[in-house]
């Protein structure tokens, strides 16, 4: 197992570096640079030229690439060209927010998806199955942007202004403005209130997909001979499903974990914008438009790393769930 892990981690190094190099090349080919936002009538071209020199953009691409790579290997990501602070700071401000949002969404998506899929498989063909099928299909085909706005409309605007619900969810931000003055329990509740709508809008779409996979996978397992044997032995149905069948059905769903990570990160771009969530997704897009190369490179680097680690976790989960995979890995 250790050898398997080590091999995978070593393989990750060239992949991450490759991604960063590719991103650098793409940004290099794209027209314009970070001074574009200052360009306006009344602004002297000499001032922009000097700005380029101050930013180091006057150096040849090869030199900038080598400098960046060298600095990055020493843990120095440089200074953001659009935000006037070190990239390390910019990432430290945004990465935890994105991780919090996506981890919550992942848990909600997999928890909800597995539960729904199981319910459907157990009641296959019935009203519950069809009802959930239609609902999940609906969510699966919904643009997350629109879904997010609808959630705001219902659970924030209508809930507070029209229906006068005792609880409603804030439409944006991570914490209330008076967060600093709350007690520690209220602070956690405040955070959860703010986290609810964004994580639910991310999770709903994913959960709908997961439920469909889970249903198919569990139905297949439930039709196998050993399930019939288990039932014949008189084991209660819920134990047959939960202890025996689900465990075997979860294998294919676990691989989804790796597949959904990149989907999740691209989803955060939209969700972070709608809910004013100060995370990496929005940072990345803004930085691309502003040609803020140091930030884009560092963010791409981190995203690549996260996706690779996520895939690794998915493989490990799969191995844990399916004993047939483990000996093969051990044999090497």
């Amino acid at each position: 197992m250790a050898v398997f892990l080590l091999r995978r981690l070593l393989l990750a190094i060239p992949m991450v570096l490759g991604v960063a190099t590719l991103v650098f090349l793409v940004l290099e080919v794209a027209p314009g640079d970070a001074t574009a936002r200052y360009a306006a009538p009344g602004v002297a071209p000499e001032a922009l030229e000097q700005m380029r020199r101050n930013m180091g953009l006057d150096r040849p691409a090869g030199e900038r690439y080598l400098r960046w790579m060298g600095a990055m290997l020493r843990g120095d990501f440089g200074v953001s060209l659009s935000r006037n602070e070190p990239v390390r700071e910019v990432l430290a401000q945004t990465l935890p927010n994105t991780l919090l949002l996506s981890a919550t969404a992942l848990i909600l998506a997999f928890g909800g998806g597995i539960l729904l899929g199981t319910l459907q498989a157990v009641r296959a063909g019935g009203v519950v199955d069809r009802g959930i099928s239609i609902t999940t299909l609906l969510f699966y085909s919904m643009p997350s942007f629109w879904l997010a706005l609808m959630l705001i409309l219902v659970f924030s605007v209508q809930a507070r202004n029209v229906w006068d619900w005792p609880f409603w969810f804030p439409a944006s931000g991570m914490v209330s403005l008076d967060h600093g003055f709350l007690g520690s329990r209220e602070q956690i509740l405040d955070r959860i209130r703010h986290l609810t709508l964004p994580s639910v809008s991310l999770a709903l779409v994913l959960a709908a997909g997961i439920a469909r996979y889970m249903r198919a996978s569990l139905l297949e397992v439930l039709s196998l001979d050993w399930v019939r044997t288990a039932r014949a032995k008189g084991i209660p149905e819920w134990r047959v499903v939960v202890e025996h069948a689900m465990r075997n059905a979860l294998g294919p769903v676990a691989t989804l974990f790796g597949l959904y990570l990149p989907v999740l990160f691209s989803g955060t771009v939209v969700i972070e914008t709608v809910f004013a969530w100060p995370g990496m997704g929005k940072l990345m897009v803004d930085s691309i438009f502003q040609r803020d190369t140091p930030v884009v490179l560092a963010a791409a680097f981190l995203f690549a790393l996260l996706v690779i680690v996520g895939n690794l976790v998915a493989d490990l989960l799969h191995a844990l769930l399916d004993p047939r995979i483990r000996p093969a890995a051990r044999a090497r």
């Binding site: 200052y38 009344g42 507070r160 600093g180 004013a276 940072l283």
Partner: protein, 594 residues
């Protein structure tokens, strides 16, 4: 015998491990929730993880502020929250001045300028209590107030003003607006500190000298003197720990989320005294629908620049009111006269006459704006509303002009051709992410097709578009939809003066001796009555040559929660009266909860 043998070992081996893993996964968000260090005293929290400069400077500000007595009175108290789509990218760094929102916060909240504008756009004393020009107009002497302190307690003096001038004009700083001082004598020649509160500048006489000192906030010399010019733009002062001398003191910035400011209790009474609000918060909410939801649910008190259709909704909503006021922006299409089909001014005039701009204005801006005819917006003293009479919507007239210019419509044809058989096809570029410009391009396409002109809208990402239109060698466009915010001092030399034809912003490429003469005179004729006929003629000439089709001057919009009183806005900006905003005690509540 209880269970099937093949399952059991797997379960035992995986059981505890899985439980632990699941627990960790579940706990992970909880750990993040609790462990982000966002709690506690804001003053202490604000210092965490700050650069050394800020860790030195901010405690000094806090210490000085703690010695001051807060004013008392019925109107003092409460927190107002402003929400906008864009981050204050340049923060409170006047040496990096670029975006509108930052500039507004610099001039009206945290920093001070030498002079400010009154409602009729006349210059009023601010940091300077008076000034006088030398008889030949080549010198101005400012007498500064002696009761203004930086928020850390240091007095604001003429040395700060000199420092600001010297750094802003130092080429190393790369200050985008350095052209403000292009007529000043360079470096120490241009400035003389007569005493701590008197300063003199020397320059070639020019118009609107004071406007520069209305636009440029003064920066603190004692904090930034040792910073190399090239490092000023990215110095932590700007976004991590600004120290100003204006009515509001910087308190905290949450990156990508909010900026907070508190009252400066020692702001001079003669300038309006300390602001009424205890606290002012600026929130960044990038999506406009979300911003509207926040305004409706009390998460923000003031929504800067809602879309026109949102404005109609705000008007209807109880407890909210809509402000709409003059602004300094306009939307236009620049025509590249280097292209053969656009070289003839008659063709460019016909294009403008063939577009029903009022209809576009009513449809896209819900009427919040006025049709534009030349780039002198309605706020400007020399604005001539009659300039428009000469390019009114007139499709028949446009068709006749095109015929006259040699572009004729064959029987049964849909696109005009010239004698050589070239078709009158014009591509119009615009940038992604701006619905208004896309709509303008598409409506133009529909309307001009009726007079036999084929418009081809083309969308490009902003940085790409800028490179294609600004590169003097490429100029890879026929027409381009753009819009911008002008300065109070309108100066179109970069757009139209023939000396700048190889400069980035000379999109039209027109060269006209009369226009050159007018543009030059407008910048040096200091007397407004003498300048008025020149402005008049300038607008007429712009209409005759049509280097651009001016579309409209949009009005600026803002949605305001009625609990905040004293909010007045005009062309000077949203924040011009922020020190006078107040919230009746009954409506104060906890911040952000409306």
């Amino acid at each position: 015998m209880t269970e099937t043998p093949y399952r059991k070992p797997g379960c035992r081996a995986a059981g505890p491990g899985r439980t632990c893993r699941m627990a960790m996964l579940l706990l992970f968000p909880v750990l993040l929730l609790g462990g982000c260090g966002d709690g506690g005293d804001p003053a202490v929290r604000a210092l965490q993880g700050l650069p050394e400069f800020c860790r030195e400077v901010l405690p000094r500000v806090q210490a000085h502020q703690a010695t001051l007595t807060q004013p008392s009175g019925e109107r003092f108290g409460g927190t107002a929250v402003v929400g906008a789509v864009g981050e204050m990218a340049d923060g409170i760094n006047a040496f990096s001045l670029a975006d509108y929102t930052s500039a507004q916060h610099q001039t009206f909240l945290n920093l001070m300028t030498l002079v400010r504008l009154d409602e009729s756009l006349g210059f009023q004393p601010y940091l300077a209590r008076s000034w006088e020009f030398s008889p030949d107009g080549s010198e101005v002497t400012f007498h500064l107030r002696d009761d203004v302190r930086w928020h850390d307690g240091e007095p604001t003096t003429a040395h700060d003003v000199a420092f600001t001038f010297l750094r802003a004009t130092d080429p190393g700083t790369a200050f985008p607006n350095a052209a403000f001082w292009s007529r000043y004598r360079e470096g120490d020649e241009g400035v003389e500190v007569l005493d701590d509160h008197t300063i003199r500048f020397r320059f070639q006489p020019h118009a609107e000298v004071l406007d520069t000192w209305r636009a440029m906030p003064i920066m603190p010399r004692h904090l930034l003197e040792d910073v190399a010019p090239a490092d000023l733009r990215s110095h932590p002062f700007g976004i991590r720990c600004p120290v100003g001398n204006g009515p509001f003191v910087f308190q905290e910035r949450r990156p990508g989320q909010s900026w907070s400011f508190v009252r400066n209790p020692e702001f001079p009474e003669a300038l309006g005294g300390p602001p009424y609000l205890d606290r002012y918060i600026f929130r960044v909410i990038p999506e406009q629908s979300t911003l509207l939801a926040e305004l409706l649910t009390g998460g923000v008190d003031l929504y800067v620049a809602p879309t026109p259709d949102q404005a109609l909704r705000i008007q209807e909503e109880e407890g909210l009111r809509l402000l709409d006021f003059d602004f300094r922006s306009y939307v236009f299409v620049a025509w590249n006269s280097r292209r053969p089909q656009l070289a003839d001014p008659r063709v460019r005039r016909a294009l403008t006459m063939g577009i029903n701009r009022q209809e576009i204005l009513d449809g896209l801006l819900m009427g919040f704006g006025t049709v534009a005819d030349a780039g002198v917006p309605p706020f400007h003293w020399a604005h001539d509303p009659e300039a428009g009479g000469r390019v009114a919507y007139d499709p028949e007239g446009a068709a006749a002009l095109l015929d006259e210019a040699g572009w004729r419509l064959e029987d049964g044809g849909s696109v005009r051709t010239d004698a050589q058989g070239n078709r009158l096809e014009i591509s119009v570029k615009y940038n992604t992410g701006n619905q208004q410009r896309q709509d303008v391009a598409e409506v133009m396409q529909a309307q001009l097709s009726r007079i036999g002109v084929a418009i081809r809208p083309e969308v490009l990402e902003w940085a790409t578009l800028v490179e294609q239109i600004n590169d003097p060698v490429r100029r890879d466009f026929d027409g381009v939809v753009l819009g911008w915010v002008t300065e109070f001092r309108v100066d179109d030399r970069d757009l139209f003066h023939s000396s700048g034809v190889d400069q980035p912003f000379h999109w039209s490429g027109i060269q006209d001796p009369e226009l050159d003469l007018l543009l030059d005179s407008l910048q040096v004729v200091m007397d407004r009555e003498a300048a008025r006929p020149l402005w008049q003629r300038y607008q007429e000439r712009a209409v005759e040559l049509q280097p651009l089709t001016y579309f409209f001057y949009p009005r600026r919009l803002a949605g305001v929660n009625e609990r905040v009183e004293g909010v007045r806005m005009d062309v000077r900006g949203e924040w011009v009266t922020v020190a006078e905003w107040w919230i009746p005690e009954a409506a104060r509540g906890s911040p952000g909860e409306g």
